[in-house]
């Protein structure tokens, strides 16, 4: 059944649904999830394609092994991004992906625009377009509850938008469960532009497994090895907030829009241990053995009665330190607001940080912002979140994201730390050079998760790194040497991981002993019967990444855009553990050269003809 999952083409303009099989050569070339999504998007992607037009396809794609025993059950959501104006793609956990495949579908390609608010009901091989008029303006949790209640089925899984998506906030998210988000690149705004409030899925179909006994055996072995790693043990105990402490100690955290990079001892207030009093347990996404997600409850104080999941490191940084905000309860509440409205916490924090720095420097003033915008003012942050989601006053300007550059005028540009019109996150990459390159080359604009090249922070001997990466890589993470290779290697692995539906946390992310190609190959074979060698899988990773790059090339993107914010090159980190760190143009260019060469792209970052031919991407 894994291989018989269907692609559904849904056009909301004429309410038509066409269901077709996934051709077997497409599976072999792109697996599923992100890979097949990219293939589908690339057919219509152009510089002229308006992200808010009916022609922009919103594509949901479950990984090839989503819903089976493996290392997660994730789904990718892909479209042209209204946030950056370039490639949009976001990956989401929770139980939605597994339910989609149980209903018999691997991919949904949604085009057109409905005149009235609608939702899709996907159930056991059937798809219906239904009226969603009564749910307009409900937040993302209310929407899910309302649909389950109306259909009297608690097992329905729902991906939906909230007011932010309906109001076309450019960084609106698509949400499922209490916290899971396809957060970055504004997929929720694309959904809103189609008048699509939700996709509800329910499935009870069997997922047939090619070799059940051996699959179970192989899985248990891989599981055992993974659970023995220190990384997964720590992740299961503390969740991603454990990374906050590390970033603060090393000095690669964003403080006040990257004006500094560590808050020293003040960091205790936001560390994983500080979350413990609020935590009521740890949760897993469907099919995940690691349980990295906090569930919390605020039982007293200003935000009494707030319950939810999270907050993750990315939100603590983006709505916390990046805004000079060290009030953990405020951060938890701000995160919950963003989740409810259906708005990416990382981008929301980044644009507010931009506005705060502009205010600090007097580039904008109260005439525009309506209220003072001081660093660390929790109340102002919450107010802005409300105003952005509803597009009220100054909130409506910030809802434009990086496109607000036009409104703020020339002087504002250098204070939005963005790459390819997409803001950097809760971190500062002047210290870890592999991360810096990965941000610059990511195919969805500034994103640490496209590559997340972090094995060089573990202090592994260089021989070990060489064995993993197939070439020399420096074990010093502030060194430029070999980091082009590292980024390239992780980009490929992560593209495969997203196409299988696996979670990056459970693959080579922070542990060299976690599953990778070898293990993937085994599980694919035993689950689906598809024989694929580790080498073939790596080539698939290159195919996907290069295809993504080709879409960017259509937008006119090249080497000149694979760069970092000015601040990274010009201003050494002023104080703290990473004091003095800065990116040298020479070092950066060296990494980029090595990186292009390994990808088979030319000096200008354009994939070479022969590389495209080898990957089967020409014509």
């Amino acid at each position: 059944m894994v291989l018989s999952r269907k692609i559904a083409y849904i056009n909301l303009s004429d309410a038509s649904v066409r269901i077709s099989p996934v051709p077997s050569d497409l599976r072999r070339k792109f697996l599923g999830g992100r890979g097949i999504n990219m293939h589908l998007l690339s057919k219509v992607y152009s510089q002229e394609l308006d992200p808010f037009s009916p022609e922009n396809p919103l594509i949901f794609g479950a990984g090839l092994l989503t819903g089976t025993i493996g290392f997660g059950s994730r789904v990718n959501i892909t479209a042209k991004s209204p946030e950056s104006g370039h490639l949009g793609d976001s990956n989401m956990g929770g139980d939605f992906g597994a339910e989609l495949v149980k209903a018999g579908f691997g991919h949904l390609v949604i085009t057109g625009k409905s005149r009235r608010p609608v939702y899709l009901m996907v159930k056991n091989k059937q798809i219906e377009i239904r009226d969603a008029g009564t749910w307009k303006e409900l937040d993302t949790v209310e929407t899910q509850r309302a649909i389950r209640q109306a259909l009297r089925d608690e097992k329905i899984q729902i991906a939906c938008i909230g007011p932010a998506g309906e109001n076309l906030v450019r960084y609106a998210a698509i949400r499922t469960g209490l916290k899971n988000s396809a957060g970055r690149t504004g997929m929720g705004a694309v959904m809103g532009s189609k008048n699509l409030k939700a996709v509800a899925v329910r499935g009870t179909l069997d997922i047939t497994i090619s070799d059940p006994n051996n699959c179970l055996k192989a899985y248990r072995l891989q599981l055992k090895k993974l659970m023995e790693t220190k990384w997964v043990q720590a992740l299961g105990k503390y969740g991603t907030p454990l990374l906050f402490q590390y970033a603060n100690a090393m000095g690669f955290l964003s403080i006040r829009n990257n004006q500094s990079t560590s808050i020293g001892d003040q960091g205790y207030a936001l560390e994983a241990e500080a979350l413990e009093p609020y935590s009521t347990g740890m949760l897993s996404c469907f099919g995940c053995p690691a349980h990295c997600r906090h569930r919390y409850s605020l039982t007293e104080g200003r935000y009494k009665g707030t319950k939810g999941e999270g907050p993750e490191y990315a939100s603590i940084g983006s709505l916390g330190t990046k805004l000079g905000n060290l009030d953990l309860e405020n951060i938890i509440y701000a995160t919950e607001l963003c989740n409810r409205y259906g708005m990416d916490t990382i981008s929301t924090g980044s644009y507010i940080a931009w506005a705060m720095e502009l205010y600090q420097r007097g580039i904008i003033d109260r005439g525009m912002t309506e209220t003072p915008l001081h660093w660390g003012d929790g109340k102002a942050i919450l107010q802005l979140i409300h105003r952005i989601a509803h597009r009220k006053g100054f909130g409506s300007i910030l809802a434009e994201g990086a496109f607000a550059k036009k409104i703020f005028k020339e002087l504002s540009r250098d204070y939005l730390l963005d790459i390819k019109n997409f803001p950097i996150e809760m971190t500062d990459e002047r210290l870890p050079k592999s991360f810096a390159l990965g941000m610059a080359t990511s195919t969805r604009g500034a994103c640490h998760m496209r590559s997340r090249p972090s094995l060089d922070v573990l202090g592994l001997p260089e021989e070990v790194l060489k064995k993993i990466y197939g070439g020399p890589v420096s074990s010093q993470f502030s060194s430029y040497s070999g980091k082009g290779r590292m980024v390239w290697w992780h980009e490929l692995l992560n593209a495969v991981c997203d196409s299988l539906g696996f979670c990056r946390f459970l693959t080579v992310f922070s542990s060299p002993h976690a599953p990778q190609y070898q293990q993937f190959s085994k599980l694919i074979g035993l689950s689906t019967g598809l024989a694929m060698t580790p080498r073939e899988l790596k080539i698939i990773g290159e195919r996907i990444y290069t295809l993504e790059r080709m879409m960017l090339v259509r937008d006119g993107i090249s080497r000149k855009d694979d760069t970092l914010p000015k601040r990274y090159f010009e201003t050494p980190i002023p104080a703290g553990p990473a004091k003095g760190e800065v990116i040298s143009s020479e070092g950066f260019d060296g990494m980029l050269d090595e990186y292009y060469r390994l990808h088979g792209w030319d000096k200008n970052g354009i994939p070479k003809r022969e590389s495209l031919k080898k990957l089967g991407l020409s014509g």
């Binding site: 059944m1 025993i69 209490l178 069997d206 997922i207 179970l216 897993s284 053995p289 569930r295």
Partner: protein, 122 residues
Amino acid sequence: MKIKVNKEKCSGCHLCEMVCSLFHLGIINSGRSAIHIKKDDLDTSLNTPLLCRQCREMKCLDGEEGGRHQEKKKFIWSYKRAKRCPFDALTILGGNAYHCDLCLGNPQCIKVCTPGALTLSK
């Protein structure tokens, strides 16, 4: 022998359901597993793994003739028995109920339950 549940520890991963159906039926289907996780993922209440408690007095077999010992070893039951279970412990899909046969002595679910919510009790 039975599977002991500590719901405080359950992460809601559904891995137990997947391996239960895979082991018995060679397919993956949470709806056709003897164990199922009751979960309200929109609230912050606990997840509750439900499965046969291996009761001494089997209410589920009320009014039926024949050997309990034999029935205990069967995985697929009629849904009617599930209706008689005072704990609503069995999974029902279509006309069938799915009953924990303890994998005939080699329980699978506990091996993948990483938080330790499922353990074997003699």
